[in-house]
Amino acid sequence: MTNVEQSLLELENITKVFKIGGGLGLMGRRSIKALKDVSFAISGRNPIITTLVGESGSGKSTIAKLVMGLLEPTQGQILYKGRDVRLWLKNDRMTYRREVQMIFQDPYSVYNPFYRVERVLHLVVRNFGLASSSSEARNLVAESMEAMGLRPEDLLGRFPHQLSGGERQRLMLSRIFLMKPSLVVADEPVSMIDVSLRSIFLDNLLDLKKRLEMSCLYITHDLNIAHYVGDEMIVLCEGTIVETGEAESVVGDPLHPYTRLLVSSIPIPDPREKWKTSLGVEDITLKKFEAEQGCVFSNRCPHRMEICIRETPSLISLEADRQAACFLYGKEE
């Protein structure tokens, strides 16, 4: 048996196709390839925050749902601790649910408006048998709120609409604290809360990583946040990974033309540093159905070569643990 270091989470050649429209498959059915042959791994050695960066339509939320088992891949497999997620869900569903959790993007719709907010915590206590009596359950719930800097007396008995977006998301962190998972998938958790409240949430998340030795797959479109929380970074463009590496390096020295476009388009809150060049009209794409071959970025790329339209580049390993899928860096033989 080889001493292969087991990764915590691994996606192998994941492709996800969605069919939309049409009745019994006869008329008007279109397919959308949300993810095309995506592969990456999160190391299991140390707790790590991997940020997955992509714009809308890049497929990043689809990855979140696939990892959580809310969707099934069309092709490929997802391995958690070396075992297919489908097997986990079939044979050890509750263990998987305990170890892999999620924070959703919308702090409002994630709460069932019919119930009080603490129910999201009690549900977990009940389903995973974390307490043997109702008083123990109440203690656990209060403790997890306090651990995230929330005051139970301010929140218990309230309904979701009585709390602010920031409080609701932090309560979701309390839920994570309660469950102590090994991996948490965070799908744009701060994009819908105010800027002044975001840092509290992000700092809490970083704190959880340390305290619980928990890894995180942080999904976002905001490169600033990805840079702030991420150790590693993966850049997703229209369903394909175009670049990976350490977050600092990817943002400081982007290799792939798409990453370069993203980094240069970030608005900087300093009026002295405005954007130097302006975008041309070619940068705005007309929505069209993706070509089967060729690089996903070829229609917008300033460095487009003939080969880019014909063939799809695969991720090439470059120096210092960095990868980029671009023919500018050669071709994988």
Partner: protein, 306 residues
């Protein structure tokens, strides 16, 4: 046994949750308040009717003929007078209310139960269940129910209360099923359903604890519509002289009173009272439904809070 105990406590807890949800919605709006108060008063009256009539008639049945003198005018002993067969009309009206309410509530409840089950199976499970059930629902919807009901009433001479309610339920369930199914389709895509799934909740748990509570207003409205639909069919048939004569509903009574010539003789009070009670049933349920709609569609309300 402990399992039995757990089942009872969890059922009671669910009932308590539903009661709380129901009261929350009921209290939100004057129309729902008035409607539900009126409706539940009618139910109370109908439920108390046997006792009331027991006292008024010293143990005799209100449909027993020849107890009193025939066609008496209203007086202190007979506030609405007596009919052509010697029955006290006040007792008869109360009995009529009871029968009407029983039919309305039973057929409404059964129709709603069937509608909700069908809606869940079709909406939540989807796939082949959805296709089959939708075809069934749409087929029944297309069938003209009044002619069917009339034909059935004409052919069947003797029928009991329960069977009649069942028949009306079969005719009225598809309407609610459609609306509720559509709502379930929306609700099952809610993010909190995803959260429940990853928190380990089973399919049934999700249906009953996540989706059902948010369906309550639609279920109540569906129930109201089914109730009114059934009563409407029944009353309509009565007014053209169809239907089992031994079941003395309000509609039946109106028909009898008109046939006995009360209208042409100027003896309005029994007809007015009977009609008023019938109308009150419809109005109270309608107020409830409109009020609930207002609560969930706030633009109907002119100023916040009213």
């Amino acid at each position: 046994m402990d399992f039995g105990g757990k089942l009872i406590t969890s059922t009671l807890r669910s009932l308590a949750r539903f009661a709380r949800g129901f009261l929350t919605y009921m209290r939100l709006n004057t129309k729902t308040m008035v409607g539900s108060v009126a409706f539940f008063s009618l139910i109370a009256l109908a439920a108390l009717e046997p006792s009331i009539n027991y006292i008024l008639l010293s143990g005799h049945s209100p449909t027993e003929m020849g107890l009193f003198e025939r066609t008496l005018l209203p007086s202190f002993e007979h506030p609405l007078g007596t009919d052509a067969t010697g029955r006290d009309l006040l007792s008869l009206v109360l009995a009529g209310l009871r029968f009407s309410m029983i039919i309305a509530v039973i057929s409404g409840s059964v129709a709603t139960l069937v509608a909700v089950s069908v809606a869940f199976l079709a909406g939540y499970k989807g796939g082949i269940y959805d296709h089959i059930l939708r075809s069934v629902t749409d087929t029944i919807l297309v069938i003209p129910i009044y002619p069917i009901a009339a034909i059935a009433a004409a052919y069947v001479r003797r029928i009991d209360l329960f069977t009649m309610s069942m028949f009306l339920a079969v005719l009225t369930w598809p309407w609610a099923a459609r609306t509720i199914r559509a709502q379930i389709l929306t609700l099952k895509e809610m993010v909190y359903v995803d959260l429940a799934k990853i928190s380990g909740l089973s399919d049934y748990g999700i249906m009953f604890r996540e989706i059902l509570p948010n369906l309550l207003p639609f279920i109540v409205v569906g129930f109201g519509n089914a109730l009114m639909g059934s009563l409407f069919i029944e009353t309509g048939l009565r007014l053209i002289g169809l239907g089992p004569t031994e079941i003395m509903t309000l509609g039946m009574l109106v028909n009898l009173l008109i046939n006995w010539g009360f209208l042409s003789l100027g003896r309005y009070s029994p007809i007015v009272v009977t009609t008023f009670l019938l109308v009150l049933i419809f109005v109270s349920v309608n107020l409830l439904n409109i009020g609930l709609d207002e609560v969930f569609n706030p633009r109907l309300k002119k100023v916040t809070g009213l």
